[in-house]
């Protein structure tokens, strides 16, 4: 067998092995750094190879042990491998950034181990084809991200009690979420007698065709929406996000806001469009209403924020609403728009969080009212933050414009006029709050001299490189979006017609 067939398992096992190695190597910080950077680069390269492989040769199924559909299988289709590429990119950038950003006590003890577990959890969640295995990877994600939220960055701009409180909220809500997920999985297993997602899909389809689909399938689907909605911070369960994401150190905020909330979107896409394909007519209106409420709540709350990272967190809530809106509309074009929006938001928001970390270091405060006039002292960061703001607000040469354009276009073509009007209205608010933040921080006079005495902390090269690379990607996604559009269209077609996925999984024979 070629090595390329083993990439899915390598993407999961390598970070797990690395996390144990780095715990052992605590006494050798520089070696730890080197091996982590190297492994992250390898993971990024492997994920790109995987995407090309899947693009050229179709869905790749990897059996962990030759148990066929009864065992755990990893399935790399275009959606999951595309998301793995995005998550590997963001985690590589966050890792480079955190070398200089994190406090050395946190960095040299358990930071790398937890970070690698986070990467393993992300890759595993995206690649697994087994619903219970997805739950296990969710828990890996939860525990490692909780550990990372309480890690402290240099300078200590976030107070320790705040971190504790935020981590407690996050852990409580997500433990309840995982209990709900277990209930849903147990109910599903009791109904269809299998845990393999493709197999469940076939069996529910058979039940539906025979007209004997039990009514509690709809309840199970709603339970899954609750679970993934909690991960993705959709409206009634959004309130943990603006506490947790700003309290985490900036590279971790970038990971959480860039990738972690997309895990929920991925779950909704995978579970609703593969398993509960026949229950979608009930779910779609619910998802659209929740998405609109999320957009409204996030945008209105973001306007009044004075803390830069809190503003970005509320903006994440609002933007995830747009992504979910595309999921709810459910036409092929809308699903393609969803993926375009998801990638653009992941890149732009993680870049903004990294930049916010640099800005906080530079100004030595998190309050935007105390900043001002930084365009002279930090020209690089002001430019990058402007690019990010324009992308999030959806202004032309940036990727965010393409994303918003295709999403609204898809909504109009699908005749969802009222949701699109509401979304468009609040897109204007997005423009307002992003530029209010930029003007407050970089324009105008230098607000006070309180922090003038300090030795102002310029951004080091290792902090600047990730920002510049991500800014470049945002620009490229805006100027040359055709490859991403082509990928998204294929992904949407795959989601709407899951037959290739099911065939690829079920044609395996048991040993």
């Amino acid at each position: 067998m070629y090595i390329s067939n083993h990439i899915p398992i390598i993407l999961i096992v390598l970070p797990i092995v690395l996390s144990t190695i780095t715990v052992i190597l605590r006494t050798m910080p520089s070696f730890q750094k080197g091996i982590n950077l190297f492994a992250s680069l390898i993971l990024f390269a492997l994920s790109i190879v995987l995407l090309f492989n899947v693009w050229n040769n179709g869905i790749l199924v990897y059996e962990v042990g030759e148990w066929g559909k009864y065992g755990i299988i990893l399935v790399a289709d275009l959606l999951s491998s595309g998301l793995v590429v995005v998550s590997s990119l963001v985690s590589l950038m966050a890792l480079i950034y955190s070398l200089d950003y994190m406090d050395s006590r946190a960095l040299n003890t358990t930071y790398y181990a937890l970070f690698n577990l986070l990467v393993a959890g992300l890759n595993g969640t995206f690649l697994t084809g087994d619903i219970f295995n997805m739950f296990v990877f969710f828990e890996i994600l939860l525990l490692s991200s909780c550990g990372l939220v309480v890690a402290s960055g240099k300078g200590g701009f976030t107070k320790i009690p705040d971190k504790m409180e935020a981590a407690f909220k996050y852990l409580m809500l997500n433990m309840l979420g995982s209990i709900v997920m277990l209930i849903a999985i147990a109910a599903l297993y009791a109904t269809v007698g299998t845990l393999n997602m493709a197999d469940i899909a076939v069996k529910i389809e058979t039940l539906n065709a025979a007209g004997t689909m039990p009514w509690h399938i709809y309840v199970i689907a709603l339970l899954f929406i609750v679970v993934f909605g909690n991960k993705a911070a959709i409206f009634p369960l959004h309130y943990w996000l603006p506490d947790v994401h700003p309290s985490a150190p900036s590279p971790i905020s970038a990971m959480l806001s860039g990738i972690m909330i997309k895990v929920g979107v991925y779950g909704i896409l995978r579970v609703c469009y593969l398993i509960f394909h026949d229950a979608m007519f009930i779910l779609q209106p619910i998802i659209i209403i929740l998405a609109l409420l999320t957009i409204i709540i996030g945008a209105i709350s973001a306007i009044g924020q004075n803390d830069v990272k809190r503003l970005l967190a509320y903006s994440s809530i609002s933007q995830i609403g747009y992504v979910i809106l595309g999921v709810g509309m459910g036409t092929a074009y809308a699903l393609a728009a969803t993926f375009v929006y998801l990638v653009n938001h992941a890149v732009a928001k993680s870049m903004l969080f990294l930049t916010a970390g640099g800005i906080i270091h530079h100004a030595r405060t998190r309050d935007m009212r105390k900043m001002g006039g930084m365009v002279k002292t930090a020209p690089l960061m002001s430019g990058i933050f402007l690019i990010g703001s324009m992308s999030i607000a959806g202004l032309p040469p940036m990727g965010g414009f393409i994303a918003k354009f295709v999403l609204f276009d898809a909504g109009l073509l699908g005749e969802y006029y009222i949701p699109i009007i509401i979304a468009l209205l609040f897109a204007i608010l997005t423009l307002f709050y992003m530029f209010r933040a930029w003007l407050l921080m970089f324009w105008g006079e230098k607000a006070t001299d309180e922090y003038g005495d300090y030795h102002t902390h310029t951004v080091s090269t290792r902090m600047a490189i990730p920002m510049v690379i991500l800014a470049g990607i945002v620009l490229i996604l805006g100027i040359y979006p055709e490859p991403l559009m082509a990928l998204s269209t294929s992904i949407a077609n795959e989601l709407l017609d899951p037959q290739p996925y099911i065939t690829a999984v079920l044609e395996r024979s048991v040993r």
Partner: protein, 139 residues
């Protein structure tokens, strides 16, 4: 009869867990969480319960000739495995749910340990375990 008792137990555990989660004391909240997770574990076990006593070891090839059980899909003929014929008696307890419960127990152990340490640190920082005093962040 057996299953009715089990269902009532699960329902009671869910009730107690939910009640404890809504208390003000952090430790009671964590106890409520563990009771809830045990209720879920019981629920999972109950989904795989038959009146069986044999060890669940499958012998034989892809199609067990003696009982007629089919383990491999045949999409062309629209056979969705596993198919257990009507005549075969269900003498096995479903082994998969027990593996699932083991995993779930281990995971809830890890999260409970983490949250207990977190509560200890919160007690150090805030000097209280009253959940209504934790209000520095406003959602």
């Amino acid at each position: 009869m057996n299953n009715t008792l089990l269902s009532i137990t699960i329902a009671l555990l869910f009730g107690i867990g939910t009640f404890l989660i809504l208390r003000k004391d952090l430790i009671k909240v964590v106890i409520g969480l563990s009771i809830l997770s045990h209720a879920v574990n019981l629920l999972i076990v109950s989904t795989g319960l038959f009146n069986g006593e044999k060890v669940p070891i499958i012998t034989g090839e892809h199609i067990e000739p003696s009982s007629g059980t089919i383990f491999t899909d045949d999409l062309a003929n629209s056979i969705l495995a596993p198919i257990v014929p009507e005549s075969a008696e269900m003498i096995y307890v479903d082994p998969l749910v027990q593996a699932l419960v083991l995993t779930a127990i281990v995971i809830s152990l890890a999260t409970t340990a983490f949250i207990l340490i977190l509560i200890y640190r919160i007690y150090e920082e805030y000097g209280t375990t009253d959940i209504s005093k934790l209000r520095r962040l406003w959602g």
